[in-house]
Amino acid sequence: MNDRIEKRIALKAPVSRVWRALTDYREFGEWFRVRLEGPFAPGQVSRGYITHPGYEHVKWEAVIQKMDPERLFSFTWSHPKSLDKATYSPDYSQEPTTLVEFSLEKTASGTLLVLTESGFDKLPSDRRLEAFRRNDGGWTQQMKNIETYVAPAS
């Protein structure tokens, strides 16, 4: 079974505008309908509550993975078992931890946004979140190193 979701959407707005709507936590909260505690930062946990009418009891918690300006924004999160108020539980321990990636590409009319959500077979664990955090730090440094290495000497 295909356990990956992919959506492509053409937006009539410049990449810089779309990037801000995705990564400024207040703007993200507007269209996603979540009230977030603070700005997004790679390796950091983002917390808040859904503002979608009828779902205000639902907790939002994600670990921001990558913020590659105007190219890639990603986070991991867990889906609650049930969104219904009567059966909602903040325990997501048996639910998939998925990776959500937004990638942006400049087009003639604006921006092509590709959203993927994958990893529905992964169980969350504090250790995994911790590993993600460490990985990300490691990768950020790694990418910086490569960047320095390949950058033409000026």
């Binding site: 079974m1 959506k7 937006l11 507007e30 309908r33 889906h79 059966t87 639910e95 959500e117 992964k122």
Partner: protein, 115 residues
């Protein structure tokens, strides 16, 4: 065996990640392919024509059983395994729901950035 027909959100309360994980294996998918025709099979029948040992097949069947994709029924001294489509249907419904939620969120994003 009782057949429960649950609808809507009630049908998606089963822990989902283990179902996805159970489906993420070639051997288990091939077992499902055999069993989903509806006829129950014994471990010997499922091992026949496979390069895997009886123990290995049993182990995979237990994984499928733990998430409700197969049930064992006793027939004399033998255990037979039969397929239950419910967990896979629920999993698919759940993915459809997540997919719809993204459609709605992206539509809101579109009007947010294009205004």
């Amino acid at each position: 065996m009782s057949r429960q027909h649950r609808s809507g959100t009630a049908a998606i309360r089963r822990p989902r990640a283990p179902v996805f994980a159970a489906l993420g294996d070639e051997v288990r998918l091939s077992l499902i392919a055999k069993l989903c025709a509806g006829q129950p099979y014994s471990i010997s029948q499922l091992t026949e024509g496979s390069r895997l040992t009886r123990q290995a097949i049993t182990k995979h069947l237990r994984v499928l059983e733990s998430v409700g994709i197969v049930h064992s029924v006793h027939s004399g001294r033998e255990s037979l395994f039969e397929f239950d489509p419910k967990p896979i249907e629920e999993t698919r419904k759940y993915l459809d729901l997540v997919s719809q939620q993204w459609d709605q969120a992206l539509a809101r994003l579109k009007s947010f950035v294009e205004d």
